[in-house]
Symmetry: C2
Subunit: 221 residues, 2 copies
């Protein structure tokens, strides 16, 4: 049985990606990073999704304090920043984030003899992110084939991106088809019990469910 | 003035690599990882080397608890393991270690607009490590050129390996020539105030100094 490590943030995309790995017949391990996210709500969702499928769940703490990004740090300052820049999209780019997370996933793959890393990267929503492009994932696979024991032994770790070119509506439909626990996922930039309904992430999510023709079971304020 | 992030463990190789970056005329930032090493002696050496040159020094904590490696964890167990296997070389391979450290270094490069990562990898001492080979570093550079903002903007981060093909004696000679603070470096697998003098790392170091024709200023028990 092939073995996969799935990057699971607790959001919609990574949870659907998790469902793909299971559907592909892999023994699946979920991997979540804690890197000083603004709220732990997303982490709770990741835990809930892993529990839903009764999977081994590895949570890795990352010290990203040396990194500049509005995703990291004091949430009060973020709110202030957001007001200051007049509801513009916050700068959510974490330098080399996918590279770092996939590298750690590769280390875990080597530790547990897993064959694949599944990542819910998407070129549609994140067209400006260089680390969400197909050519990047190909180069990453090549790098792993040269730089890991698995690669040297002739069974390099593969990167699998099942939702890379899907629209949000297509992601939701494929999640529904695979029975993914979309009701447990979290997209809102804010924490709390209910989603705010008006941040960029909530808007993209809502439109996705509408386009897909499904009701979003997550509660909104 | 070009800017470089140098991976600095506190050992001989990385300290000489640091001296190379400075000698190459780079504005240099030292980067050290704390990942549950057996002792903090090496970290102290890294701090001392950065202070010696009066450099900015970034220390990143890494949670490697999910990784299997004898370098990580309870030193009592390691000693026991070592006895059990009859003084064999301990398994010091940390899965994907260089990949992970270089990925985080790349993120820091992006954060501080640095152009290069210097790493003291060496094919002579670590011929069995796939992540110490030239072809790996080339593939890593290619991956970074595809997956980072810097790469997308046409100024990809470069990986510089000044001691890649040098013998230990040559590394020591080049360190001496560049005025690197070799007396502050630490190679011994054990902690303590003085090096043990008989672990593999001490033996390689001692022979290196002997071959190079220099006296090792580090104290041995």
């Amino acid at each position: 049985m092939p073995k996969a490590v799935v990057l699971l943030s607790g959001g919609l995309d990574s949870t659907v990606t998790l469902a793909h790995s299971l559907n592909d017949g892999n023994e699946t391990v979920a991997l979540t990073f804690e890197y000083g996210q603004r709220h732990s709500r997303e982490l709770d969702s990741a835990k809930a999704a892993a529990e839903y499928y009764n999977l081994k769940h590895i949570i890795v703490n990352m010290d990203m304090s040396s990194f500049r990004s509005s995703l990291i740090g004091d949430s009060n300052n973020i709110e202030k920043d957001r007001k200051n820049i007049g509801n513009d999209i916050p700068d959510t780019y974490v330098p080399a984030r996918n590279i770092i997370m996939m590298s750690i996933a590769a280390g875990i793959c080597e530790s547990i003899d897993a064959d694949m890393i599944y990542i819910g990267a998407n070129t549609v929503d994140y067209s400006g992110y260089p680390d969400c492009r197909k050519e990047f994932f190909t180069a990453f696979e090549e790098m792993l084939s040269k730089g890991t024991k698995a690669g040297a032994e002739g069974h390099p770790i593969r990167i699998v991106t099942p939702i890379l070119n899907l629209s949000k509506a297509e992601i939701i439909r494929s999640g529904k088809t695979l029975g993914a626990p979309l009701h447990l996922t979290w997209s809102c930039y804010s924490g709390g019990k209910k989603a705010c309904g008006h941040c960029d992430s909530c808007l993209i999510r809502s439109k996705g469910f509408e386009d897909a023709g499904y009701e979003d079971e997550v509660e909104y304020r």
